[in-house]
């Protein structure tokens, strides 16, 4: 077990900055979406929405409109909103207004 040849050493993988930002936005908005879904649906029973769509006619709602379905759609909606906020934050942070060079 002597010293190893340099190219045998593990390469530390580094992501390019754009990828890091994308990963950070994706993950933090995911965590926020989990929290948002939890809080929203602890207070709101999606059955209300289903009843509204069915209008007193059980079975009238499409197959995907179940409680699980609404939780799922809600979750992805929160995720998307969080991601948009993250992207905007990144954009505003990366592209400051150029002073004195306005149109």
């Amino acid at each position: 077990m002597g010293p190893q040849a340099e190219d045998d050493l593990p390469v530390v993988r580094r992501w390019p900055p754009r990828m890091r930002v994308a990963a950070a936005i994706g993950w933090s908005s995911f965590l926020a979406a989990c929290l948002g879904t939890l809080l929203t649906f602890a207070a709101l029973d999606p059955q209300v929405i289903i009843d509204g769509v069915e209008g007193g006619e059980p079975g009238a709602a499409p197959w995907w409109l179940t409680r699980t379905g609404i939780y799922s759609i809600g979750f992805f909606l929160f995720w998307a909103i969080g991601a948009v906020a993250g992207m905007l934050t990144d954009y505003l942070h990366e592209a400051p207004p150029s002073e004195g060079h306005g149109p």
């Binding site: 050493l9 593990p10 390469v11 530390v12 580094r14 990828m19 939890l38 029973d45 179940t66 699980t68």
Partner: protein, 470 residues
């Protein structure tokens, strides 16, 4: 921090796809890690199949909006307990981090555990590090294709099983297995099994330590919870430096060398690919793989173990570690108080909920015999696992006559029932304005809930008008 200079940032996408080929390690911490991984994976895949008095022991029944945790059933109304539990979990993490650093990352984080499992499958199919390096040097040979396909097959199968097990925490596992076998899985269940399976594959097979480096908030926060007395995996530079290769059997002191033989084994075993000898880095997940590996090297060259070990900064500087310091005491104290409070309130929790609404149309009614009647509407929520018959009573007893039948409420149901309370003409003078209406389970007198409300009568209605508008 090893955050990379501007030069290191400019790397081609190609290079970022070069893999870390961690060497496997044996030793006490490796055994502990394997044990922890087996225990946690066992819980994850096994728990959905455990039954408890006729139903799944742990089931977050989202479609039915109730959580079963062994003997306990929680409803959306019990949301407080859930948030309380989350706060307790976060505090525990703070406490453990302050005392022992990132043990969570090394032994219990799902990201670590599933990455370990995927690495184990990879090792099983492709062999150890040198064999894998050799295999990848000559791609597209028959052996390469066979081994890679076998690995993918195992990985995908394992990921699918993981997705199934995840969904089985939310949909009864037995039914779910039945519908998978008969190919009658519902749309959303299919979606979530695939989604979670895909996420497992991506996180444990592909992203691996990049999740820890670029995505995990805890990995960044934890440095704020660290201090000089926190246990972390550290290299003892005082003992190791100056490092260098040497001939067997020579006295390092005479050669002007420290104990590190510069074999780079500690770098090769590191799942995040860092060199612990450069000091504490945020990429280090405290997995102790390098501790085992270096102890092994030390044993071979005949030196003492512990060149890399769990140590505090203060200890490495030659001082004594202070275990009882304000940070630890505050986290620990909070944890204790909140934990005890949680247990007490959970034991005192009555699986019954009661809302009382006064009849809004009439404040009171005078009956032909002169007695006065108030009407209330009760909403009884049975949060228990079985049906109960509830008797409605009014306190103080003896004054109010309750005109309401006992109500049967099945498990988890809400029922609205009217309750009429009457006071005989002779009792009106001593009837208090404030009273408590209670519901009590007929089969279990300890199971009761009460709410304060008001009783109005003609002589007592001074402030009736203001109440009329609420």
């Amino acid at each position: 921090m090893n955050d990379g200079t501007a030069g290191a940032e400019v790397v081609s996408l190609y290079e970022t796809h070069r893999k870390v080929y961690p060497r496997e390690v044996t030793g006490r911490f490796a055994r502990l890690r394997t044990l922890a991984a087996f225990a946690l994976l066992g819980i994850f895949y096994g728990l959905p199949w455990v039954q408890w008095s006729g139903r799944q022991a742990v089931l977050f029944d989202l479609p039915a909006r109730k959580f079963h945790l062994f003997g306990l059933t929680l409803w959306p109304q019990d949301f407080l307990y859930l948030s309380w539990l989350l706060i307790l979990a976060a505090l525990t993490l703070f406490f453990v981090t302050a005392v022992a650093g990132r043990v969570w990352c090394g032994y219990a984080c799902p990201q670590t555990v599933w990455t370990e499992a995927f690495l184990a499958l990879e090792r099983f199919v492709e062999g150890d590090r040198p064999q894998r390096l050799k295999l990848d040097r000559k791609p597209w040979t028959t052996e390469w294709v066979l081994r890679k396909s076998a690995k993918q097959f195992l990985w995908i199968g394992f990921a699918a099983l993981t997705g199934f097990s995840f969904v089985a925490f939310f949909t009864p596992a037995r039914e779910l297995a039945g519908s998978v076998l008969s190919l009658q899985l519902g749309g959303w269940e299919t979606f979530w099994i695939l989604f979670y399976g895909f996420a497992t594959y991506g996180n444990a097979g592909f992203l691996r330590e990049q999740v820890c480096k670029y995505m995990c908030p805890y990995a960044r926060f934890q440095s704020a919870m660290f201090d000089h007395d926190t246990l972390t995996v550290s290299y003892d530079p005082g003992r190791g430096e100056p490092r260098g290769a040497r001939k067997r059997g020579i006295d390092p002191k005479a050669a002007g060398l420290g104990d590190c033989v510069d074999c780079t084994i500690c770098v090769q075993v590191c799942p995040t690919g860092i060199d612990i000898r450069k000091g504490l880095q945020y990429e280090c997940i405290d997995c102790a793989a390098c501790v085992d590996a270096c102890d092994d090297v030390m044993a071979r060259v005949g030196y003492r173990p512990g060149l890399i070990r769990y140590a505090t900064e203060r200890e490495l500087a030659g001082q004594k570690t202070r275990y009882f310091r304000p940070r630890v005491l505050v986290y620990g104290g909070l944890l204790l108080v909140l934990g005890i409070g949680f247990v007490i309130s959970l034991t005192l929790r009555q699986p019954i909920g009661l809302d009382i609404i006064r009849d809004r149309n009439a404040l009171y009614r005078v009956l032909p015999d002169g007695s006065v009647e108030n009407v209330y509407s009760l909403r009884i929520l049975n949060k228990d696992d079985q049906a109960h018959r509830y008797v409605i009573e009014a306190q103080p007893a003896g004054v109010f006559q309750v005109d309401a039948e006992p109500v049967e409420v099945s498990a988890g149901e809400v029922r609205a029932v009217p309750a009429r309370l009457r006071v005989a003409p002779g009792d009106l003078a001593r009837a208090p304005r404030d009273l408590v209406i209670a519901v009590r389970a007929a089969d279990d007198p300890g199971l009761a809930a009460g709410h304060g409300t008001r009783f109005f009568a003609p002589e007592l209605d001074d402030d009736a008008h203001e109440d009329e508008h609420d």
